[in-house]
Structure formats: C-alpha cells, structure tokens
C-alpha cells in the first residue's frame, strides 16, 4: 500500500528543481482565486486547468505513445453528453454521471483501436480526425441527443454539490483543480508503471520492444482506451460549467487540434508539457482574443498565435519543455 502511494505522489526520479517548481505552481494555483478577483482572470485560470486536464489525458497517446491523435474531442463529447443527458433526463448526481461517460468513451476507443492501429503515422492521425468528425455529424443528426439544438442543463440557485452547479467561480476553480490533480497524479503513477514503460518502449522502437516480449498491439490499444476515458472527464466538467452543450461546442475539430497543440507546444511525452503548453496558449488566446479581437481589425490575434506556433515548430519541435531541458543540460555541462 505504501509503495502504491509513493508511486502516485513521488517525484524522486526527477531533478529537485522540477519538484520545487511544481510546488510553487501548485501554491499559486491554490491561492489564485483569492488574489485575482477579476471574473475574466478566474475564467482564464479555469480554462487553463481544463486544458491542462485535457492535455494530460492526450499526452498518454500523443506524448508517451508517440501517436498523434487529432480526434480527442469525440471523447470530450461523450463525457459531456453522458453527464448532460443523465442530469436532464434522470436527475442523476454529477459524480455518478462521470462513470458512464468515461466508460462509453473508453469502450468506443477500445472498439475503434483494433482497426485503427493497423495504421501508422499520418494515416493514423487522419483516421482519428475522421472518426471524431463522423461522431460529431452523428450527434448533430440524432434528435434524441438534442441534435444541433444541444442540451441545456437547468439553472439551480446557490451552491449545489449534487449537480456541481455554483454561482461563484471560486467553487469551479477548486472543482477543476481537483479533477486536474486526479489526472496529474494518475499520470505520475502511469509514467513509472510497467504499462508506462511499455508504451514508451513501443513509441521509441516497436521492433525492439517486441523483441523484449512486449505485446505491441495490446499496449497501444490499452493506451488509447485509457486516453479515451480520461478525455471524457473534462467533457463532463464542461457540461456543468457551461450549462449548455451542443456538438459544435464539445466535439469540434478545433478542440481536438487545440488539445493536441497545447501538449505539443508545451512538450509531449513529459509530465510537465501539457501544463506548460496550456499555461502559454490558453491565456494568450483568451487575452489576445479579448484585447485585440473586437477592438482592432479582425484576425491579428490569430495571426500572432499562428506565428508563435510556427516558430516553436521550427526552432524547438520538442516544445517548450524541450527548450528548458536543453538550457538545463547546457548549464550542467558548463558546470
């Protein structure tokens, strides 16, 4: 038992400065709603945590697994719809609704995985994109899920812990922080676990991994299944945070791409990558969009965004974490 707890919480295998950095980050996030009282600032922080959450889940397949998945939004959609529909139809408490959401997402991923992993590289990426788009069109087409008109969750007053509806952003902040930490420590356990090593071995060299006795196919499938389930968790949050979901809001291509991008910019394959990526891109998007978008001519905010992406792609494909690691190594060699 003690070993299990250590596996989840310990970062002993990482350099001390990372551990300290994370603790400082955690501290800032914990006291954040009390030092920043602007509604927008709090909303940005919540969105940042949400995308860090998405990113951690995606990192499993995209980072540790080394397979670019451009369809994570479908899993978000499954979670969001499971939660929203169960609340609206049967008044099921929130914490129970996340289970069917994650299970459905995981099962769908499992079913899709067998045919999909016959593909590699770009073929795989485009296939994930197609699958997600098909699901989105289906959700628009189906009337029983509300179709294009979406699902509206009725407003409740006061702080409701059964349906996780609050009128102050502070509650949502700790709510998403809690979910984030859940996934974060899960990732910490994962990267040190047997499955985690197998996944990374397969990513680095499939043939070598196979020769070591790893069942490559099975590893990939399990990895993808877990990624699916994790994506749904963020979707369930979105349903009760925005109180209105529709296929364009919770399963669009743009969301899949944004999730993949935040991790890639931050540094895929490292536990810090999703956090760094979200910390850079989300506030940038929200503030540039708000300050420049309507007041100045259209398009400048996205152009800036795009240039940053291209520069990172060209200069440091391993993302920001790659830059940090590089600087650190230089430092070490210099003595």
């Amino acid at each position: 038992m003690q070993q299990f707890l250590t596996d989840i919480f310990s970062f002993e295998d990482r350099p001390r400065f990372e551990r300290i950095g994370f603790l400082i980050f955690l501290l800032i996030v914990l006291i954040f709603p009390w030092i920043v009282t602007s509604a927008y600032g709090r909303a940005v922080m919540i969105k940042f945590l949400l995308f860090a959450l998405f990113g951690l889940g995606w990192n499993l397949i995209g980072g540790y697994g080394g397979q670019v998945d451009l369809g994570q939004a479908k899993n978000v959609g499954f979670g969001a719809y499971a939660t929203a529909l169960m609340i609206v139809w049967w008044k099921v408490p929130f914490w129970i609704t996340i289970i069917p959401g994650m299970v459905i997402a995981a099962m769908e991923s499992f079913a899709i995985a067998y045919p999909m992993f016959r593909l590699k590289g770009h073929y795989f990426a485009i296939a994930t994109l197609c699958v997600a788009l098909v699901w989105k069109e289906l959700f628009i087409f189906w009337d029983w899920t509300g179709g294009a008109r979406g699902v509206e969750i009725p407003i409740r007053s006061g702080a409701d812990f059964v349906y996780m509806q609050f009128n102050s952003p502070i509650y949502y902040h700790y709510f998403i922080l809690f979910l984030f930490l859940l996934q974060f420590y899960f990732m910490n356990w994962f990267r040190k676990s047997k499955l985690g090593y197998e996944v990374q071995a397969v990513r680095d060299n499939e043939d070598a991994a196979a020769s070591l006795g790893i069942n490559v196919y099975r590893t990939k499938v399990i990895n993808y299944t877990i990624t699916g389930g994790l994506g749904a968790l963020g979707g369930s949050f979105m349903a009760v945070y925005y109180l209105y979901i529709d296929p364009d809001a919770v399963m669009p291509l743009d969301l899949s791409i944004l999730i993949a991008m935040t991790v890639m910019v931050g540094g895929a394959g490292s536990i810090w990558g999703p956090i760094i990526g979200a910390a850079l891109l989300i506030p940038l998007d929200m503030y540039l969009g708000a300050w420049l978008g309507a007041q100045k001519r259209l398009g400048i905010d996205f152009m800036v965004y795009a240039v940053i992406m291209m520069v990172i792609a060209a200069k440091e494909p391993k993302g920001i974490w790659g830059i940090i690691e590089r600087l650190r190594k230089k430092g070490e060699v210099g003595g």
Binding site: A39, D248, A290
Partner: protein, 436 residues
C-alpha cells in the same frame, strides 16, 4: 549553475503571474453596454452589419441629429441619467457558445457593463444569457430567433425581435393570402399550384428550429410537404441537394440557409434549370448584401423573410432618413441585421432613461414595464412591450412583426415589401420567372 536554475524558475513564476493578472479598468463617466456578436468566422459579415447598426443608434442617442423624427435623435446622451453617453463595448463571440459565455463574464465583471446586448447566434445567446441570469445583469436580445430562448423563464433576459414561430406564421399567412387573392397585383392562386412544399434547412440550431416550425405550421394549416431535409451548411457542393428539390416536383421551395449555402443553392438551381413557382428564404443568408451582390440579376423573384427593408422609407419617412445616414457611413442600405441591433440599443436607451439609474434592479423593472410606441421605431412594428405573445413565452416583445420582401429589378433594384399585404410596396412577381 544553481543560480541559473533559480533564475529560470523565478522567470517562469513571474511569467505565469503576469499572464494571469487582471485587466485594470478605469472609472467611466459613460454608461457601458456590452455587445457580443460574431465578429469573426463565417458569420462575420452579419456581425459587421449588426455592429454598424448598433453603433449608429448609440451615436444618434449621444449626439443631436435634427430632422430625423424619432425622440432619441434629439437626445444628447441619456436624459434620465443627466446626459450620460452610451458606450458600446464590443466583444467577438466567434460564433462559439463557450467563448461567448466567457466574454459575457468578462464584460460583466471586468468591464463592469450595466447590461448586455446580443448575440445573434441562438446557441451563443443561450450560454451568454445564462451568465447574465446568474449575475443578475439585464441581457437584451434583439437578434436571435430560436423560440427556445424566450421559453426558459429567465428574469434577466428580454427578447426584442420576433422569433421563428412568428415568422413561420407570417409565411403561412402569406401562402394562405396568395390562395385567397390578397397578394398585391395578382389574382388568387389555386392551392394546387403552390402545393406541395419542399424545404431545405441547414443543420445548426437555427436551421433545425426553422424546419420544425415550418413542419408544425404546415400540419396546422393543411399544407402538404413533399420533401424536407437538413444539410450541412459548410458544404462544398449542394448540387445533389438541389436535385432533391427539383425531383420532388414541388412548386414551392422554402429555405433556411446562411449566405454561402444560399448562394450555392441558387447557382445549383440555375444550373439545373429548376422551375419552381415560388422561392422563399428564411432571412439570414437571403438578406445579406453579399447575396445579391454575388448573384446579381439571378436573385430577382426570390422572396425572403426579413424584419426591415430600405423601401420602408416609402411608408416610414424616419426609416428613410436613418437609411441615408447609414448608407453614407457603411456603403450599404440598412437591412434586417443592422436594424435589429439598432433597435436593441434603442431599447437600452429607453430603459436607462426610464430607470433613471444604472442599478440592475431598477433596469429590470424599467425593462419589464417598457412600452415604446411604434412611432419611435424605425421598424414597422407596433412597438416594444415585453410579455407572452405565444404559449410559454416570457419577456418576449409582443408588438414586433416580420415582413416578406421580394427582390425585384436587380442588379439595380430594391427588396420590395410583399407582405404584410397592407404594406406592400410593389406587385408580387408570380410565378417565379426562372433564370437566364
């Protein structure tokens, strides 16, 4: 090297703090109203019209414009607030409900607006108004037409424009009127010449709602539908959808389309030499300047639901004067989009004046009791008064109405009003003459 590590660390910390610091706002002498509109993305041209309309209204409220003939033109700022000027704070919704909600939050708490206006896309209005409802800040909606919006029982949401149910009723009143011989300049049309109907609707929230309403009314009023389907509005090609319409052999085509698909449909129908007797569009794409600019003479004979037409100047001189000013500034005639947000700002101006305060509760009371006479509006409405015109509605303007226009004489023509029949500005072109 420990110093270097510490340096990187502290830099990261400072950077993250800086990124999250709030946007400071200054104390304002003006009255700020937050306006959420789709200013980027595929609906951006409509967003621009809406914005231009709103800005014109704010300007007319804030400055003296002699000779227009409506009360707000004589104002210089809001009289009830000692001449405080209206300042519109625009925010791009990107057509995304989640983003729109974030912007609503920002406008309410950081910009400290006294109220909100917007947001055109019904889905965005849904989420943005939830934020207003939670915060107890008034949200005035002049431009979203999904019937759902006024059926939620919200206490901080007022809708100025008529919604889809209304407009669909107008359509069927028009069709029934044609059969009864009430249409201007033409004899009674036998129902068998117009039946059955064929309907094509784009598949977002708006199109889906339109389709449902049309099917409902058709059943109620006894009109047969041969073909009714939804299509993806981002389609690259609509020839087979157009083919479905021609294959149904229906003589009346009804559309709920945005600009790009509306244009594609007309082109496809022309390509196929389709021969409907009546073509009607449900606003949106069919009334945008780009529609007739792109298609030129091909739009002649096409009818569309609208809320405003520049030819209204013939029956309402105030509309004409406003149109002149608007055209000077933007290069386009006033249309349904710009007109709706114009009235939205007008409603706000009257509410602020009536409340004599920017306190939310006072504004809520003022809006609930608001009664603007039709004479003060540039729309051909009876006025603005919020109530329950259809079952389940709350805070819905009871005195609004729609019109149906028909393009005549393009590329140099005007959208003539053909419904309500009493307000018709020209003979109805019937049957549809086809394309050259």
């Amino acid at each position: 090297m420990k110093i270097k590590k510490l340096g990187i660390l502290s830099f990261a910390v400072i950077l993250s703090l800086l990124i999250f610091l709030p946007n400071l706002s200054f104390a304002q002498k003006e009255v700020k109203i937050g306006v959420i509109l789709p200013l980027s993305g595929p609906l951006a041209p409509i967003g621009k019209s809406l914005k231009d309309g709103a800005e014109l209204a704010a300007d007319i409220v804030n400055k003296k414009y002699p000779g227009i003939g409506i009360p707000i033109a004589d104002w210089e700022g809001i009289p009830g607030l000692g001449g405080a000027k209206i300042k519109l704070v625009f925010s791009d919704s990107r057509g995304d409900p989640a983003w729109g909600a974030e912007q609503a939050k920002r406008l309410i708490e950081d910009e400290k607006v006294v109220g909100l206006l917007g947001a055109y896309n019904s889905a965005v209005t849904k989420t943005a108004s939830v934020e207003a409802e939670r915060a107890g800040i008034p949200f005035v909606n002049p431009d979203s037409t999904s019937p759902d919006l006024s059926k939620r029982g919200f206490k901080w949401f007022w809708r100025v424009t008529p919604h889809e149910t209304w407009f669909t009723r107008d359509l069927f009143d028009f069709l029934d009127g044609l059969v009864a011989g009430k249409a201007p300049g033409i004899k009674a049309v036998p129902k068998s010449e117009l039946e059955p109907l064929a309907v094509a609707a784009e598949n977002t929230e708006w199109g889906a709602a339109s389709l449902t309403e049309i099917e409902k009314f058709a059943k109620e009023r006894g009109w047969k539908i041969a073909e009714a389907f939804k299509y993806p509005h981002k389609a690259t090609d609509l020839t087979s959808e157009a083919r479905k319409l021609t294959a149904s052999k229906a003589p009346t085509y009804l559309f709920a389309s945005y600009i790009a698909d509306a244009v594609l449909f007309v082109k496809a129908m022309k390509e196929m030499k389709a021969t409907p007797r009546l073509i009607w569009g449900q606003n949106a794409g069919f009334i945008q300047p780009d529609f007739w600019k792109t298609l030129g003479a091909d739009v002649n004979g096409i009818a569309s639901r609208d809320v405003f037409s520049s030819v209204l100047g013939k029956v309402k001189p105030e509309a004409d004067r406003i149109n002149k000013i608007y055209k000077e500034r933007s290069g386009f005639d006033f249309d349904g989009s710009s007109a709706r947000d114009f009235i939205g700002v007008q409603v706000w101006a009257h509410a602020l004046d009536k409340a004599k305060s920017t306190d939310p509760k006072a504004l809520q009371k003022a809006l609930n009791e608001l009664n603007i006479s039709g004479k003060e509006l540039i729309m051909p409405w009876k006025g603005v008064k919020f109530g329950s015109p259809f079952p389940g509605d709350t805070n819905q303007n009871e005195l609004g109405s729609g019109i149906i226009i028909q393009y005549q004489g393009y590329p140099d023509g005007k959208p003539e009003i053909v419904f309500p029949f009493e307000m018709a500005t020209s003979k109805l072109i019937y049957p549809f003459a086809g394309w050259k």
